[in-house]
């Protein structure tokens, strides 16, 4: 009896905990809700316009079936072209996922009669036991005939779903299964050449840094993230030594990997903690490589506390708005134009499988209708440094400067690019290690 008495509170706590943890998703995602409901509103909008139409045809029967018709009627009447996206993180993360989401909204605005649907937060922390194939099936069940999956680890699941759904066209963004020859014919890969964006970020960091201690808040380790760290380092080294004429040994470039694209408590390192470790270690510029905005948030806090710390966020054009006073700029993706072309092709039946690693539009990297990668200067970048950065970008644009020119060595001293040669796309894509001079783990 005594045992039972002591156990009831424990049980209640357990059950309440289970309920709260289930609810926990809701408060964390409240900012997500508004766009989410917005999406469903737009999803319901055509249905709403159809309901009266249906009502005039057969008022008695259709009226009662209105809620059902909401999902089925569009197929028979207007037949909107439905395209979907599976996102690893929330659509309002101020980074990777928000940029992807807005790219799709760009397409929805430009293809009349099209409809965009999505499921976000597809990761083991937010949706345990839900696999990407399952989510893709849900999108297809809602009528999607074109699906974008937006994270590296969706590659295998995308291919499985593509084999099971040969009539649906897939884009695995940031993936390389087409290059590797593993993708079914209805899968394509799209990625922007963010290596240039990261070079600009590294350059801006080196130009503005006073201590020469630059740090990089890294996500997980794979060829993509190594390639981006290396590019940022090359940009920083060039602008530190060749533009500013400072000695190379006074520049330090450190990367710490958290283990995933964003914070998962108990699984990844806490990016807030890592950013603070950088700051306490004397670093005065933090480059972000993760999907979320911890780097700029913490840099801003430190600056308000009297230190001088800058940040360079990543992925999303408006990321500087979080804290303009410490933002040197942001290398960002602009997926809209590329997705518009891919989806238009698929709609017209002319989709061709390809591996597209697309360079910025060098005539104007910030043209929202042409350039997949851009760099938006931040308010904290001094006018002098902005001029230097523009000159650097101009050199990249006209091809007079190729930072992947040898001799370049990997961290362990093995040659990466031989003296006098330049690395081709495939070599850069599959960067096996960090470069010599970068402080951090390569995981070869």
């Amino acid at each position: 009896m005594k045992r039972a008495l002591t156990r009831w509170p424990a049980l209640l706590i357990l059950v309440l905990g289970a309920i709260l943890s289930a609810c926990g998703g809701a408060p964390a995602s409240t900012p997500t809700e508004s766009p989410a409901t917005e999406a469903t509103e737009s999803a319901e909008a055509p249905a709403a316009t159809e309901a009266p139409a249906a009502a005039t045809e057969a008022p008695a029967t259709e009226a009662t079936e209105a809620p059902v018709a909401a999902t089925e009627a569009p197929a028979t009447e207007a037949e909107p072209y439905i395209f979907g996206m599976v996102l690893v993180g929330p659509i309002n993360d101020g980074g990777w996922n928000q940029a992807q989401y807005e790219g799709m909204k760009y397409v929805e605005e430009r293809i009349p009669g099209s409809k965009f649907i999505y499921i976000d937060k597809v990761n083991p922390a937010d949706r345990p036991n839900v696999k990407v194939e399952q989510v893709i099936d849900e999108l297809i069940a809602q009528g999607a005939t074109f699906v974008v999956t937006n994270s590296a680890e969706f590659g295998d699941g995308t291919n499985i779903a593509a084999e099971a759904n040969p009539d649906v066209t897939f884009i695995h963004a940031s993936g390389d299964s087409v290059l590797a020859g593993k993708a079914p014919a209805n899968v394509g890969n799209i990625m922007g050449k963010m290596i240039y964006g990261k070079m600009m970020a590294g350059c801006a960091a080196a130009l503005q840094s006073e201590t020469g201690k630059i740090s990089y808040l890294g996500p997980l380790i794979d060829p993509e993230t190594r390639r981006l760290v290396n590019s940022a380092y090359l940009g920083a080294k060039y602008c530190w030594t060749d533009v500013l004429g400072k000695p190379a040994d006074q520049l330090s470039f450190k990367v710490t990997w958290i283990g995933f694209w964003f914070n998962i408590p108990g699984v990844t390192l806490d990016p807030t903690q890592v950013a603070n470790d950088f700051i306490n270690g004397g670093s005065d510029v933090i480059l972000s490589g993760i999907d979320t905005t911890e780097a700029i948030v913490e840099a801003n806090k430190a600056t308000q506390a009297g230190k001088k710390v800058y940040a360079i966020p990543y992925d999303y054009k408006a990321a500087c708005e979080q804290a303009p006073d410490v933002c040197l700029g942001v290398p960002y993706f602009n997926w809209g134009p590329t997705y518009l072309k891919a989806i238009s092709d698929a709609k017209a039946g002319t989709f061709q499988q390809s591996f597209d690693w697309i360079a910025p539009d060098w005539t104007n990297i910030n043209n929202p209708d042409t350039s997949i990668v851009g760099f938006e200067n931040g308010a904290a970048l001094s006018a002098d440094n902005a001029t230097k950065l523009d000159a650097f970008i101009a050199q990249l644009a006209d091809g007079s400067l190729n930072l992947y020119t040898g001799p370049l060595n990997y961290q362990d001293g093995t040659p990466f690019v031989a003296d006098g040669t330049t690395a081709d796309d495939k070599t850069i894509w599959y960067s096996e290690q960090l470069l010599e001079g970068v402080d951090g783990q390569s995981a070869p």
Binding site: L11, A22, A36, I117, A125, N129, A141, D156
Partner: protein, 352 residues
């Protein structure tokens, strides 16, 4: 006046009827639905449409039915195991960790001998999974019986340790070549995946294993002397001891058996569901099984319908974000509310 007079005596005789588990189950269900409806209404979601998706969504397509079965299988295994520990009066919160260790152990033969014939490897994976889960549970049993550490705390501690081990393996020794990502290890070669029905993710071996295990547990608890002794220990360990039942031994056995079943569930997650080790390989199924067992108590016969219903809710709710723009965690609210109201109803029924 007359009506109240009738009502007053009416309260006494039907007490037996009121206390019947079915009625209380129905009351709990109604309470849970009301509670969940309030949550849904407060977030602006039409409850009827949400319930239609949650209750029936899992049956709408063959693909969803198969996903539901693949979730129900490990859930049934864990729940069946937990009926044993529940019968013995233990709250085995370590079931998550036992599932994780089962999954880790199931990976070992698959990594060491990938060239063996797949059927043999599957058998090995199941055997290792069961052994791994049982070993982890034995640790909890030793803490409970040997060192008198409450199994709730021992289980929770061991859960953290098990997640740590899985995470270490995923980011360290078992990571993908050239990568270090907590998204998981290299996927198993296709030949080692449990065979599935055409175009579905349904691997029939998983539910078969779960049903066989459930039948064995049902027979052991209700039809054997061992099960009787287990329940005696659960009711009163001291008295059972005086009657000649080796109480400590039965406690340890129930934990180890539960661990073995959770380990089987972990093995299913590896070879039947994810085909790789991920840090959250247990996916909260162990915790869900704890909720199932709070409803069914030490009665394995009810595990099948309740676990299946929970799997239906969970899979049905996957489409909520798309169809209604609400979060799928509403299924968790419904499940938790069901258990909470069942406990309340049971508490009320126990009051004289």
């Amino acid at each position: 006046m007359t009506t109240s007079n009738q009502a007053a005596p009416a309260q006494k005789p039907p007490k037996a009827a009121i206390r019947s588990p079915l009625l209380f189950g129905a009351l709990a269900l109604v309470g849970a639905l009301i509670f969940t409806s309030i949550v849904l209404l407060s977030s602006g979601v039409p409850p009827l449409e949400a319930y239609r998706l949650i209750f029936l969504g899992a049956f709408s397509t063959p693909v969803r039915i198969s996903d539901m079965i693949m979730l129900a299988a490990p859930l049934m295994l864990c729940s069946a195991g937990l009926t044993l520990t529940f019968a013995a009066g233990l709250y085995n919160l370590g079931v998550e960790g036992q599932m994780i260790l089962g999954a880790v152990a199931a990976m070992i033969p698959l990594r060491l001998f990938p060239d063996l014939p797949p059927p043999l490897l599957w058998a090995l994976a199941f055997a290792c999974g069961a052994a791994g889960g049982a070993a982890w549970a034995t640790l909890a049993a030793w803490l409970r019986v040997g060192l008198r550490v409450n199994e709730i705390f021992a289980g929770l501690g061991l859960n953290f340790l098990a997640s740590g081990i899985a995470l270490y393996l995923v980011l360290g020794p078992w990571r993908r070549v050239g990568q270090a990502s907590s998204s998981g290890t290299e996927p198993l070669p296709n030949a080692l995946w449990l065979p599935t029905l055409d175009k579905l993710r349904l691997a029939p071996i998983a539910p078969i294993v779960a049903l066989i295990a459930l039948a064995i547990i049902w027979a052991a608890v209700t039809r054997t002397r061992w099960g009787l002794e287990l329940r005696a220990v659960g009711l009163n360990p001291q008295a059972a001891g005086r009657m000649g039942v080796p109480a400590a031994r039965r406690l340890a056995e129930s934990l180890a058996a539960c661990g073995a079943l959770a380990g089987l569930a972990g093995a299913i997650q590896i070879i039947g569901v994810f085909h790789q080790l991920i840090p959250s390989i247990s996916s909260g199924i162990g915790l869900l099984a704890l909720l199932v067992v709070l409803l069914v108590r030490a009665n394995p016969a009810w595990v099948l319908p309740v676990a299946a219903a929970f799997a239906v809710f969970t899979v049905g709710s996957v489409q909520l974000p798309l169809a209604l723009g609400t979060d799928s965690s509403i299924a968790g609210v419904l499940q938790g509310a069901l258990v909470l109201f069942a406990l309340l109803a049971r508490g009320l029924s126990a009051r004289k």
